[in-house]
């Protein structure tokens, strides 16, 4: 084919995409440009748009006037404000590259020349074939949609739970178990106990009245409650302050030695 038939001279210099498009070539778009509100879903993709342009222009799919179609494509995606959509932009770039390749002079005798449009044509045909299948599926799906199957459920509903198989004695046994557990009182009652320092002083004095020395154990048996331990400790410190006894610990953690003060010993 001759390159002149592929590329219209009027368009060859026009590679500036933002330049105003020629009114003559874009009548279809220009006529409806202002009230042209098209939903994105009208075309399911750039190939769909391209195919509809080819159909509207009634051009041969095997010999697409690429300059014209590319320009229409750009104008359409601009009108439809699809120029932000990557898929459409990618196709626009592809069209412009093919257009540029078509503009390159080539040797008529060059056998190896490959039509830059070939890949696009293949994809368009493939897409068109798929659209035919879509029509078939749409028809079949519509037919099937119109017939209900037994127990058709539009949404997945959780199956109802089976009724309980339970005897009265089992139920009573379960209630009994629960009540037994519930009876255990797990609530702690915290009661503040006052320390009995005076009582502990009396105990220490009583112990020291019998022996000259005593150990911590003697004034505070291991079974003592915390309040008794604290009372004993305070009693010892108090008596030591008054000079009634002497406290000594020979090594860390060793038992505390309690000895009568010599003066009271003398007494």
């Amino acid at each position: 084919m001759d390159i002149d038939t592929l590329v219209e001279p009027a368009l060859t210099g026009q590679l500036d995409f933002d330049a105003p498009v020629e009114p003559r070539r874009l009548e279809a778009v220009a006529d409806v440009a202002t009230p042209f509100v098209i939903e994105l879903s009208q075309f399911s993709g750039p190939l769909d748009l391209l195919l509809s342009l080819i159909r509207d222009e009634q051009v041969d799919i095997y010999d697409i006037p690429i300059a014209r179609i590319a320009e229409q494509f750009l104008a359409h995606i601009h009108v439809m404000q699809l120029d932000q959509a990557a898929d459409y932009l990618e196709m626009a770039a592809r069209l412009l590259r093919i257009k540029a390749q078509m503009l390159l002079p080539r040797n008529e005798l060059d056998e190896a020349w490959e039509d830059p449009r070939a890949e696009l044509v293949r994809r368009l045909l493939e897409y068109q074939q798929m659209r035919e299948v879509v029509d078939v599926l749409e028809r079949l799906g519509e037919e099937r949609r119109g017939r209900f199957a037994r127990a058709y459920v539009p949404q997945q509903i959780a199956p109802p739970t089976a009724p309980l198989a339970l005897s009265l004695s089992e139920l009573l046994a379960a209630i009994d178990r629960i009540l037994r557990v519930a009876r255990e009182d797990v609530i702690h009652d915290v009661i503040a106990r006052p320390l009995d320092v005076d009582g502990a002083i009396a105990t220490v004095r009583a112990v020291l009245a019998l022996r000259a020395t005593a150990r911590w154990r003697d004034v505070c048996p291991p079974t003592s409650q915390p309040w008794q331990v604290l009372s004993a400790l305070l009693a010892l410190l108090e008596l030591a302050r008054r000079g009634e006894l002497r406290l000594a610990q020979l090594a860390p953690f060793a038992s505390v030695l309690i000895s009568r003060e010599s003066s009271s010993q003398a007494a």
């Binding site: 035919e132 079949l140 119109g146 017939r147 209900f148 199957a149 037994r150 539009p154």
Partner: protein, 189 residues
């Protein structure tokens, strides 16, 4: 009707999904495959000739009792059942490609459709119309998708071969997929 046909009718009535022929045969250990088939034929004949409101349909490799199309509107008006939602154009395109080219990866689908199909694949997966059937050998081992029995059921197809073959379509083209993506020509300056 013979007892086997009555048994099959009861089973088909109880099931919400199509029942495969071997499942139907399993209902009666003594029944031969031929007997099951003739019982199914008898049941279908009965529905068709005796003027029933339902029909027996072979779908997705199994059998299913469906209401007849002429009662759809009345049933839907009474809100006794609702039609499933219609698939979008994008979903149908994607489904058509998968049906013909399965197993097929996402990149090939996008090559044919010319748009990204990630969310469409997700919704088709959620509706159970397609499933992951494997992984390709290539870089990244991309997932491969194929259609499911639910696809056959929702389009009332007995099997995939019921779809028109490539050469039966008005646009005939080579069905082989190019091994590699189309080579990008060096940009002309």
């Amino acid at each position: 009707m013979n007892p086997l046909a009555r048994l099959l009718e009861a089973a088909l009535f109880a099931s919400a999904r199509p029942i495969a022929v071997d499942e139907l045969a399993g209902l009666d250990p003594d029944a031969s495959p031929a007997a099951v088939q003739s019982a199914l034929d008898e049941l279908r004949e009965t529905y068709d000739t005796a003027g029933h409101g339902v029909e027996l349909v072979e779908v997705g490799g199994g059998w299913q009792i469906l209401t007849r199309a002429e009662y759809t509107e009345a049933i839907e008006r009474a809100q006794l059942a609702a039609r499933p939602h219609r698939l979008s154009g994008a979903s149908l395109e994607t489904l058509a490609i998968i049906a013909y080219r399965q197993p097929i990866g996402r990149a090939e689908i996008e090559e044919i459709r010319g748009v990204a199909v990630g969310s469409v694949l997700k919704s088709l997966l959620e509706r159970g119309l397609i499933d992951v059937v494997g992984r390709a050998e290539g870089v990244g081992r991309p997932l491969l998708y194929g259609t499911t029995p639910i696809f056959l059921e929702q389009f009332a197809l007995r099997h995939l071969e019921e779809l028109p073959r490539g050469d039966e379509l008005a646009i005939a083209l080579r069905t082989t997929i190019p091994a590699e993506s189309p080579s990008e020509a060096a940009p002309t300056t």
